[in-house]
């Protein structure tokens, strides 16, 4: 299959330039395939605005990996004001990066989403407080002012609080960590790859912070995954497969060439007029590597682990967030595959 795709790509290149370079190419090795398939147009909406969290996709696009897999990809703008799940639902994007919890919620509401690949294998959510506030373990959070993001990002901590029987004073949290830095809240939600480093970059030392990792509290919630609509998958399964293969290849390339990947990401950030901080993006890319490259026990990277999927589904059902969740095989787009 891969060979076919590569041939298709070679052929398409040929077609583009065929009139100009006909004679040259006729004598070249690339001239062999006679059939020329056009690149398939596709769109991707990431979960958030450009940053190293999505380095794999930007790198794959920039390095021509998608084109090599026969895809003419456009990465849509994202960030505040954009909803990838809505865009996916109304057909504005062929693919989207979503959290597993978001996807499950959408599925429970009847949106027929398919998880094509699970990129971030575990929860990167942290609850950070200053050491001098005396918070050491989860139970210390009881009665504290805790900053929580709105939407699905707050699910893992809420489930954790419920499991531990803790009541916190919830304070809605914005996209900055300033409320925490100024002392408006005692505990802030933070992504390991993002806000944690932002706090460090604001002059707070790591040893001044007390960090609770959600993933260490028995909450194994995989995060970013590649999703598409069931109908899109049915219409063109090869495209979806090629997209996933190219995206994973993009990630591997990004990790193997981190400096180049950073340049690509920062270029995207500048284009989007976002503050671009290399040290921060470097941290983010390194953490994404930790989160994406799976531990040996979990199998191939890019795969949604069935047990974890079930655990998340059950947890969400238990806490009344969803009534039901789809079968793993349907959810991962392989209704005919045997259970494993």
């Amino acid at each position: 299959m891969i060979r076919l795709v590569r041939q298709a790509w070679c052929a398409s290149r040929l077609q583009v330039k065929i009139r100009l370079l006909f004679f040259v190419l006729c004598s070249s090795v690339f001239a062999a395939p006679a059939m020329a398939l056009p690149l398939k147009k596709a769109t991707l909406m990431p979960l958030w605005s450009p940053q190293a969290q999505f380095a794999g996709y930007y790198v794959a696009l920039e390095k021509g990996i998608y084109a090599r897999h026969g895809i003419d990809l456009k990465i849509l703008p994202a960030g505040p004001g954009y909803s990838p799940e809505q865009t996916l639902k109304n057909g504005g994007a062929d693919f989207a990066v979503l959290w597993l919890t978001t996807a499950l919620r959408q599925s429970a509401n009847g949106t027929r989403l398919v998880n094509l690949a699970q990129i971030v294998q575990r929860s990167s959510l942290l609850l950070i407080s200053r050491k001098n506030s005396g918070i050491k373990r989860v139970t210390d959070l009881n009665g504290r002012k805790v900053g929580l993001w709105s939407g699905d990002l707050s699910l893992p901590p809420r489930i954790m609080f419920a499991r531990q029987g803790i009541k916190v004073r919830e304070v809605p949290q914005s996209y900055t960590v300033n409320l925490f830095l100024r002392g408006g809240i005692e505990v802030t939600s933070a992504m390991w790859y993002n806000e944690y480093h932002t706090i460090l970059s604001s002059g707070v030392d790591a040893d001044e912070l007390s960090v609770i990792r959600i993933s260490e509290q028995g909450i194994q919630f995989p995060e970013d995954g590649i999703y598409t609509m069931e109908r899109t998958l049915k219409k063109n399964p090869a495209l979806a497969k090629a997209f996933v293969a190219a995206s994973l290849e993009g990630w591997r390339y990004a990790f193997d060439h981190s400096d180049e990947a950073l340049e690509i990401v920062i270029k995207q950030m500048r284009a989007a007029q976002l503050p671009a901080n290399r040290a921060h993006q470097k941290w983010m890319l390194e953490r994404m590597r930790d989160l994406i490259m799976p531990s040996t026990a979990k199998g191939e990277h890019g795969q949604l682990n069935q047990q974890e999927y079930e655990a998340v589904g059950q947890a969400m059902r238990t806490y009344g967030l969803i009534k039901k969740y789809p079968d793993y095989r349907y959810f991962t787009g392989r209704p005919n595959a045997g259970s494993h």
Binding site: P172, R182, L200
Partner: protein
């Protein structure tokens, strides 16, 4: 081979090195001091500059804060309708040109029970004042959750927001001053909302960016999170924090510095700036916002003048040292040149050439003195050598003459033994070892008539030539008078008479004179002050007891007595001078008469030659090589009897 170091080289080395060292120390101290002074001055300047900048920023911020606080008080004192509220906000904006925008944002249902969120916002737009409603403008995230609202709300006090880009209005960097205002609800103080005023940071950052210090020195502004707000590195502004730069550079010291800054400390330090240049930085806090203002001076530019001055001084010093070296070389040459010439001349003189020309030195210094002394020395040496040559020549002549005299003297004494081989009735043997070239001792023997042998031994006072001459006279007289008179006492008297006449030099001689009758063995003898001889006969060996008599020469009219002795066949008379008995060894011990007697007793009698040689050897053994002052003379005679 050792290199011979000349005085000039030594002088040049020592003086040049010393002066270079002194100069280097002075230069180093000067550089260090100038630098310290400059740094002190710099710190003061930096502090003043930073203070004035901080003051200007602070003034603006404080005035804005006062406006917002005024609005909050106004809102707390009375309830405003929508129109009144809009009027208040708009008028405030109009009256305070430094404000960019202003809003009064209410807590849910705080404006009225029917409206959940209410936040009228006036802002400058295209030269006029535009109006907007934030509760509708912020669709994604209600204004309730924005930092400018949430932070003062949670903290319950005025807050300046972290600077941010306002995306709605031309990407202007701004900061918002937010003041919570309260109302009384059922007698309880209740938060009603937040009053804000936005200020554009463009003019502030421009003010700070416009600061130019030296060539590339600059001022920078950091936010409370360490975010770069104003800095010559445009890419860093609102992208990098002081800490992310420290992280990228892996510079923990820079991170520590940043932490001091955001804590509101101030200080003056040398560090590696964000541009990567070693720089001095003075940083001071902007109190109302918690920002940090820093004034940065590149160290290199600061020290440029000091460095240039030091370089100039170094060049001057180098030229000076070179000149000094040249001067030292020239002086050293002027000293050593005559010295070298003198040394060369000395070598010549040492080689024996006393006529070599000495260098002419006209200077009045030590070298001139030495040169002149050298000339005098050369003259003296020449004179001395001349004298020495002459003296040596004279001495050599005298020596050769003395040698002749010695030969003559020796030839005067009978030296052929056996002296009378045809006369078996007696044996005679004599020896003389002069202490000097010519001696004062002598002996003689001759026949007065065919049966009478006169033999004598004498010792002239003094030594050397005078003694030899006197001896010649005495010997000649003694022989001629002896042959004429044939009687010892008369011989001595006659000779004394002749010698005493015109004896101005007062010289004298001791003489023992004897005449042997070869037929009878009778010996007539007279003594003129000489050592008594020894007789060796059948009774043994003994000194002859005889009249001493007066020495010949000093006094006229001295009479001498003739004494007699009859020798038996085989008896031997042994005559000697005081050179024998007074022979000294190194310990100044005399040979002495007892030892002579002893030696003669042991010596063989039969052979006179052996006898004399035995005594001579014994005396020499006593002396053991010590130089003798007197001649050693011995005469031995044996009578054998008439018919042998």
């Amino acid at each position: 081979m050792l290199v011979r170091t000349s005085i000039a080289t030594k002088l040049v080395l020592v003086i040049t090195l010393c002066s270079a060292l002194i100069f280097a120390v002075i230069l180093g101290y000067n550089y260090h001091r100038s630098r310290t002074i400059l740094e002190q001055e710099l710190e003061a300047n930096a502090r003043n500059l930073a203070s004035s900048l901080v003051h200007r920023v602070e003034t603006e911020l404080v005035s804005v804060a006062k406006v917002v606080q005024g609005m909050a008080r106004e809102l707390e004192t009375s309830r405003h309708t929508a129109q009144e509220l809009n009027h208040l906000i708009k008028t405030t904006l109009e009256q305070n040109p430094e404000l960019y925008g202003s809003t009064v944002a209410f807590e849910p249902f705080a404006f009225n029970a029917a409206t959940r969120l209410y936040a009228p916002y006036y802002y400058r737009h295209k030269g006029g004042i535009a109006f907007s409603r934030l509760e509708t403008a912020y669709q994604q995230l209600p204004y309730l959750y924005w930092d400018w609202y949430q932070i003062p709300r949670e903290l319950g006090r005025m807050e300046w927001s972290e600077p941010y880009f306002d995306e709605g209005a031309g990407n202007i960097l701004m900061s918002t001053c937010s003041v919570p205002f309260y109302g009384a609800e059922n007698g309880r103080k209740q938060l009603k909302g937040i009053v804000t005023a936005d200020i554009s940071l463009e003019s502030l950052t421009q003010l700070i960016s416009s600061v130019k210090i030296l060539k590339t020195g600059y001022a920078a502004l950091l936010s409370r999170n360490g975010m770069v707000l104003a800095h010559p590195l445009k890419d860093a502004v609102m992208n990098e924090t002081f800490f992310s730069i420290a992280e990228e550079r892996q510079d923990p010291a820079m991170r520590e510095l940043g932490r001091k800054m955001i804590k509101g400390e101030s200080g003056f330090i040398l560090y590696k700036s964000m541009v990567g240049v070693r720089s001095w930085m003075y940083y001071a806090p902007v109190r109302s916002t918690g920002w940090t203002l820093a004034v940065v001076f590149p160290e290199k530019e600061l020290l440029e003048n000091v460095t240039r001055l030091s370089m100039t001084m170094a060049v001057m010093g180098l030229v000076g040292i070179l000149l000094l070296t040249a001067a030292v070389v020239s002086i050293a040459r002027s000293i050593t040149k005559p010295l070298r010439l003198l040394a060369a001349a000395t070598d010549e003189i040492a080689g024996g050439n006393f006529d070599v020309e000495l260098p002419v030195v006209s200077s009045q210094d030590e070298v001139g003195l030495l040169s002149r002394d050298f000339q005098v020395m050369q003259e003296s040496l020449k004179e001395y050598i001349k004298n020495l040559t002459e003296t040596t020549a004279a001495k050599e002549r005298i020596q050769s003459e003395l040698k002749v005299a010695t030969d003559i003297q020796a030839s005067l004494l009978p030296r052929l033994f056996p002296a009378f081989p045809d006369r078996p009735e007696f044996d005679i043997f004599a020896s003389m070892d002069p202490a000097k070239e010519v001696g004062g001792d002598f002996y003689d023997f001759f026949f007065v008539d065919p049966t009478h042998l006169c033999f004598l031994i004498a010792d002239v006072s003094g030594k050397g030539v005078p003694a030899a001459l006197y001896m010649m006279v005495a010997k000649t007289l003694l022989k001629s008078e002896g042959q004429r008179l044939g009687e010892p006492s008369r011989i001595l008297s006659c000779v004394n008479t002749i010698l005493a006449e015109e004896n101005d030099s007062c010289m004298f001689a001791t003489v023992f004179c004897a005449i042997l009758d070869t037929e009878t063995g009778e010996v007539q003898f007279a003594n003129a002050g000489h050592n008594p001889p020894l007789i060796m006969d059948g009774a043994g060996v003994r000194y002859l007891a005889l009249q001493a008599g007066f020495v010949l020469g000093p006094m006229e009219g001295t009479n001498y007595a003739t004494e007699r002795l009859v020798m038996q066949p085989g008896d031997t008379l042994f005559l000697y001078t005081d050179g024998v008995t007074e022979a000294c060894n190194h310990a100044d011990e005399l040979y002495g008469e007892p030892q002579l007697l002893d030696a003669l007793q042991k010596a063989p009698r039969e052979d006179l030659i052996a006898l004399v040689h035995t005594i001579r050897a014994d005396v020499a053994a006593h002396a053991a090589g010590a130089p003798q002052s007197d001649d050693v003379t011995m005469v031995a005679i044996t009578w054998r009897g008439k018919e042998v």
